[in-house]
């Protein structure tokens, strides 16, 4: 689910950048550092705007200036039970991998409808019900997230296509 989230971050600036457009530089650096990262439970998708750039404080010892910046960002937090659209990128006998934006998903063969079977003789190998559903690398799939795990800077999920309206997307 997407949220608009107020966040805060300390940004350090090298002394060579001290000058008139310091605040712009701080904002640029913030964008570079933060956008597209995984911060614990959620991904920071885009920064809307910054407010409240504090006055800089020189860090003793290094000479870097530290600013505390408040900003508003669009974040995406995947939830268990959430349905997302993803693109399959790798298929093997145990299931297939898919990518939903920054999130990597695995859908195992146990979490597919029974009629969808692995076909190793196809090129490339695919999951198919020998009718309208063919899942191979590049296929758009609609997946329900049933498990999530995060580590520092990374997040993985287990998906399922066992349910109504899940599975291949007819584009």
């Amino acid at each position: 689910m997407f949220f608009l989230h107020n966040l805060e971050r300390r940004v350090t600036l090298h002394p060579s950048y001290f000058g008139r457009n310091m605040h712009d530089l701080v904002t640029t650096k913030l964008l570079k550092d933060v956008e597209g990262t995984c911060a614990g439970d959620y991904f920071i998708i885009a920064i809307m705007d910054t407010f409240d750039v504090s006055e800089g404080r020189i860090l003793p010892g290094s000479g870097l200036a530290e600013f505390t910046v408040g900003y508003r960002a669009v974040v995406w937090r995947p939830f268990k039970g959430e349905v997302v659209d993803a693109i399959a990128f790798s298929v093997n006998p145990h299931g297939f991998f898919a990518q939903a934006g920054p999130l990597r998903l695995f859908v195992s063969s146990h979490l597919m409808p029974d009629e969808i079977q692995y076909d190793a003789n196809a090129t490339p190998p695919q999951f198919t019900n020998n009718a309208d559903m063919v899942i191979e690398p590049g296929t758009h799939v609609r997946v329900k997230i049933i498990g999530l795990r995060t580590e520092v800077g990374e997040m993985w999920a287990i998906g399922s296509i066992n349910g109504d309206f899940l599975g291949c997307l007819q584009a």
């Binding site: 268990k80 695995f106 490339p124 287990i158």
Partner: protein
């Protein structure tokens, strides 16, 4: 699926079951109390101050918590029962057995497997320890699931009557290099190599490729001749997998070239990134349960330590001469090469590469030796797989070798070398029809080419694979008939392809008794060498000495005059062949017609009348060991008498002319080490007629001058030994252009001397300070030597190989 749960090792046995909280059919949760038990223990009670204590038996009641989720099916214990040791206590129906896990998540129920469960003795992540997917390492499965998947695979293969074939890329079906010269030759239709390289494919790696100089470089891929048909036909009998030591990006790029529409390999590509081991490949990575239906083709046997029986060793494809395998810098240096492959490429095909260029090739190969050493050291003491430092270091090393290839352009150097030789040859033919200086059978007005496209290995390989497939399925059908299986697939009668392969191979050279000379280094047990293992695998017998029943003597044509040759020449039934015969046998799986490989024995080694009696008979034991037979000694004396022969020449089977050292002693030594061979090659070609040894030239040398220089050097260097830069020293030893370096060195010494005399104490302190850095620099010696060496090579572009060899 029901599962039996044990009590575990934690309860203090013996215990008494007090109460069962749950009954059959109840749902149980992990870490929920399931039963109560009591146990007895002793405690010291009483007055500790007065030391009036005694032991008293205590009874404690505790609960036992469920290690797993699910439904309780049945208790295996009763209330009141005394349990003396760990055993099964209940049967449950597990909610999920977590058989497929992805990055710490159960891929079936979505639970986090890394959560610590204090009631269970093993972690949930251990339930799925096997990684068996080609392109991912973070997907793991349980043994049961692996078994199931593999059964599915075998069933599918049996239905379509196929086998699995694991194919190595580098030097097996393709040869890759990144020398930019190839690209230039492709664009230049006048270049003699243009025809050879025009169908070389190329690609760039955007990411995942090397960094630094080699970044964004072009990879040139030469497919082995006939590869397309080979793969197409073989893919009807086998399901193909790619298993390479290159990176993933590289593997995929090559797969795209070899198999553009992904019909052959599909997504069955595994690379170094997923292998999980820098030094060896393992079939168990892909087929964890059974390798009964898997065949490997690879040019290196030593990277498959666990799967030798399944391996068909292919002779390495060496199209870009001297390049080797660009992705194997990690691996220990290959030991299995027959010398012909590395240094004697010309021998069978005749007019290819002349001996001089061969030394150049050898030198190119030699340059990477420092790296090889590193790899072999790392490989020797059973490498720690997860050592990130080592891995990182090796990745860097590999990048360095790649850079070197781009900068040094070994192919260009080789071609220049050849061109020069051609010119010389032209001159020689026009000046006199002496013939002694011309490379044999060289058309004079045609530039020689370094790259030749004349490999025939795949033709034979296809035959072998077809035969193996047939033999395998014959065996399968036979077994199935015995089982009288009703269905068309019978997993229980699947034969082991390793056995079938061994059976086929062992017939190949049965009956031959082979003696090797000059091929295996001295002091190495041939049974442990790759060549020995191959010979035995093909059913040939290796005999240590010449006997009457020996059928073949394999001679290293680089070392043509050994004792064994002399002995064998006296027995007419022994065919004396060069090492290429062996290579041909290995590649064709039969006893190849000896004709083209017959070795011309040196006239002096030909039998003298009456000598034949000294050769031992077959029934004689071999323990004579080091004792030399008497005849060679006599022969040696004969040779001595006519010692000052002007330049011995040996005309090999290929017609190639070879110069011999006159000193027969060193030749007679024994089937000596390969290094010896190289030393012989290194001898300068321009020794004057009638000269016995290369150092004879020193007779006319001005020793006084040298003594003076030495004196001067010792005088000036006596007090600044320590602070003398090691690099400089190396440069002096390496550089043969003494005129260039000596003045500068002198200048340096003079300067330092004046400093030292200026202030004695100061000089001492500097000396002390400098000892440390000089030590550290000496530890970097290897790299600095290599650097110097490289510089020397790049500076002296003319006759650089000579410089190099003399420097060595």
């Amino acid at each position: 699926m029901s599962k039996t749960i044990r009590l575990g090792t934690r309860p203090p046995y013996p215990i008494t079951v007090v109460k069962l909280f749950k009954k059959s059919g109840d749902a149980i949760k992990s870490q929920e109390p399931l039963m109560q038990y009591s146990f007895k223990w002793t405690k010291e009670v009483g007055d500790y101050v007065r030391k009036e204590t005694w032991k008293e038996e205590q009874t404690t009641i505790v609960t036992w918590d469920s290690p797993a989720d699910g439904d309780l099916k049945q208790w295996l214990i009763k209330e009141g029962e005394v349990i003396s040791r760990d055993g099964p206590c209940m049967v449950i129906k597990e909610a999920c057995s977590h058989e497929i896990q992805f990055q710490g998540l159960c891929a079936i129920c979505g639970k986090d497997m890394t959560e610590v469960n204090w009631a269970a003795e093993t972690r949930d992540t251990e339930r799925a320890p096997i990684s068996m997917v080609h392109d991912q390492t973070n997907l793991t499965v349980s043994t049961v699931q692996a078994q199931r998947t593999e059964n599915d695979l075998q069933q599918r293969l049996l239905e379509s009557r196929k086998l699995s074939l694991v194919v190595d890329l580098d030097q097996t079906i393709i040869h890759a290099c990144i020398d930019p010269t190839v690209g230039e030759w492709q664009k230049d239709p006048d270049n003699p190599n243009h025809d050879s390289v025009k169908d070389v494919k190329s690609f760039q790696l955007d990411d995942g490729g090397p960094r630094g100089v080699a970044r964004g470089c072009w990879y040139y891929i030469k497919m082995r001749p006939g590869l397309e048909q080979f793969l197409r036909r073989v893919s009807e009998l086998y399901e193909l997998h790619v298993y390479t030591m290159g990176t993933r990006a590289y593997a995929q790029s090559v797969a795209r070239i070899v198999d553009p529409d992904q019909k052959l390999f599909g997504n069955r590509v595994i690379s170094r990134d997923e292998n999980g081991n820098m030094f060896s490949k393992s079939l168990q990575r892909l087929f964890p349960v059974s390798t009964n239906m898997v065949v490997i083709i690879d040019d290196r046997a030593d990277v498959w330590p666990r799967n030798r029986p399944n391996l068909i060793k292919v002779s390495p494809y060496d199209f870009f001469k001297g390049i080797g395998d660009i992705n194997s810098s990690f691996l220990p240096r290959r030991q299995d090469l027959l010398p012909s492959a590395a240094a004697d490429g010309a021998s069978v095909n005749g007019n290819g590469v002349t001996p001089k260029a061969n030394t150049a090739i050898a030198a190119v190969a030699e340059k990477s030796s420092a790296l090889d050493e590193l790899a072999s050291i790392a490989g020797a003491d059973d490498p720690v797989l997860d050592d990130p430092v080592l891995a990182q270091r090796q990745v860097e090393e590999q990048e360095r070798t790649l850079e070197k290839q781009i900068i040094d352009r070994p192919l260009q150097l080789l071609q220049e070398q050849l061109d020069k030789e051609d010119e010389e040859a032209d001159k020689a033919t026009t000046q006199s029809e002496d013939g002694s200086d011309t490379p044999p059978s060289s058309p004079p007005h045609h530039r020689h080419q370094v790259l030749r496209d004349d490999d025939t290995e795949l033709k034979y390989l296809e035959q072998h694979l077809t035969r193996l497939h047939k033999a395998y399925y014959d065996e399968y059908d036979r077994k199935r008939a015995l089982h009288r299986a009703s269905s068309n697939v019978d997993l229980s009668s699947v034969p082991d392809v390793g056995r079938v392969l061994e059976g086929l191979k062992s017939k190949a050279m049965r009956g031959t008794k082979v003696v090797l000379t000059g091929i295996v280094p001295m002091g190495v047990d041939i049974a442990h060498m790759d060549i020995g293992q191959q010979l035995v695998g093909f059913g040939a017998a290796i005999v240590p000495k010449i006997r009457r029943d020996v059928s073949h003597l394999v001679v290293n044509s680089q070392r043509p005059r050994t004792k064994k040759v002399q002995q064998a020449a006296r027995v007419p039934t022994i065919r004396i062949v060069n090492q290429d015969w062996l290579a041909a046998c290995f590649s064709q799986w039969r006893i190849v017609e000896e004709g083209p490989y017959l070795f011309d024995v040196h006239p002096d080694d030909m039998p003298v009348e009456g000598d034949a009696a000294t050769i031992s008979d077959a029934n004689e034991t071999d323990d004579a060991g080091n004792k030399l037979p008497s005849t060679p000694v006599r022969e040696r004396r004969i040779l001595r008498i006519k010692a000052p022969v002007p330049r011995l020449k040996l005309v090999g089977a290929n017609g190639e002319t070879k110069e011999l050292e006159d000193d027969s002693d060193s030749d007679d030594e024994d089937d000596g080490d390969i290094e010896d061979v190289e030393d012989e090659d290194v001898l300068p070609d321009d020794i004057n007629d009638g000269q016995l040894s290369p150092i004879d030239g020193l007779k006319t040398f001005n020793w006084g001058q040298v003594d003076d220089e030495l004196q001067e050097f010792l005088a000036s260097g006596s007090d600044d030994d320590d602070d003398d830069d090691d690099d400089e020293d190396d440069a002096d030893t390496m550089d043969t252009d003494a005129d260039e370096t000596t003045p500068s060195r002198k200048r340096k010494f003079e300067g330092e001397e004046s400093e030292d005399t200026g202030d004695g104490t100061d000089a001492e302190t500097t000396q002390d300070e400098n000892t440390v850095p000089s030590n550290s620099s000496s530890s970097r010696d290897g790299t600095s030597v290599a650097k110097k060496l490289r510089r020397t090579i790049s500076v002296a572009d003319q006759g650089w190989a000579d410089t190099l060899s003399r420097g060595r």
